[in-house]
Amino acid sequence: MVIRVESAPFDFTTEAGAFGAGRHDIGAIVTFCGIVRDLTGDLQAMQIEHYPGMTERALMKIEAEATARWQLADSLIIHRFGLMRPGETIMMVATAAAHRADAFAAAEFLMDYLKSRAPFWKKEQSRGGETWVAAKAEDEAALTRW
C-alpha cells in the first residue's frame, strides 16, 4: 500500500513492472494510468494544484476504504502536481488481488473517489488563455454506485 504525491514525472512502465513483482499470491493486477490528453491540439500544458497534507490524508482514507472493502494483496497510488505537457502521465493507480473482480472493483473505486474527493485542481493552458477544469456531474454521480 503505497501513496506518492509528487511533482516529478514518473515512469508508468517502471512502476507497473515493479508492482506485485515476485509475489505468488497475486492472480490479477489492474492498472489505471491518467494522461494529459489534447483532443484538439490546442492544449499547451496542464497545471495541477493540490492541498499539501490534505491530499495525502484523503488518499490514505480512500485507499484504506478500498482495502477494507475488497481482498487486496497490494495497492499503489501515484499522483503528480505542477506543470505537465500533453501525453505526459498525470497519475496512476494499481491494484493486486487473488481474483480479478476485486482488483477491478478496487481500481475503479480508487479512481472514482480520487476524482472528486482528493484535493487536486486542474488548469488548462492553451494559446487562448488559462481555464480551470470544471468538475463533472458524472464524476460526482459515479460515487453513488459504491
Partner: protein, 82 residues
C-alpha cells in the same frame, strides 16, 4: 486565530493563498459572512457557496459545521483529480 487557505480559482479571485484570521465565528458559514463583509473580493468569490467546498483541519466538512477547536479552514472549488 484560524489559518484560512484558498485554492484554485478561489485563491486567484481572493488574491492570497492563505491568511491568519482573527474570528469569533461559530460556524463555517459565519466565517464566510465575516470575510464577505470585510471586502468585496470575498463577497464575489463566495457568491455561490454551492460551487464551493470546505475542509476543516484537512477533512471535508459542511458549511454549517462548527469551528470550535478548528485550526485550519480551507475553501476551494469541487476537486478535479485523476
Amino acid at each position: 486565530m484560524i489559518n484560512v487557505l484558498y485554492f484554485a480559482w478561489l485563491r486567484e479571485r481572493i488574491g492570497v493563498a492563505s491568511e491568519q484570521v482573527e474570528t469569533q465565528a461559530k460556524t463555517v458559514a459565519d466565517l464566510v459572512a465575516e470575510l464577505c463583509a470585510r471586502d468585496e473580493r470575498y463577497a464575489v468569490a463566495f457568491e455561490d457557496l454551492g460551487a464551493l467546498r470546505v475542509a476543516l483541519d484537512q477533512d471535508l466538512a459542511e458549511f454549517d459545521a462548527p469551528l470550535a477547536g478548528v485550526r485550519e479552514v480551507a475553501f476551494f472549488p469541487p476537486m478535479t483529480g485523476g
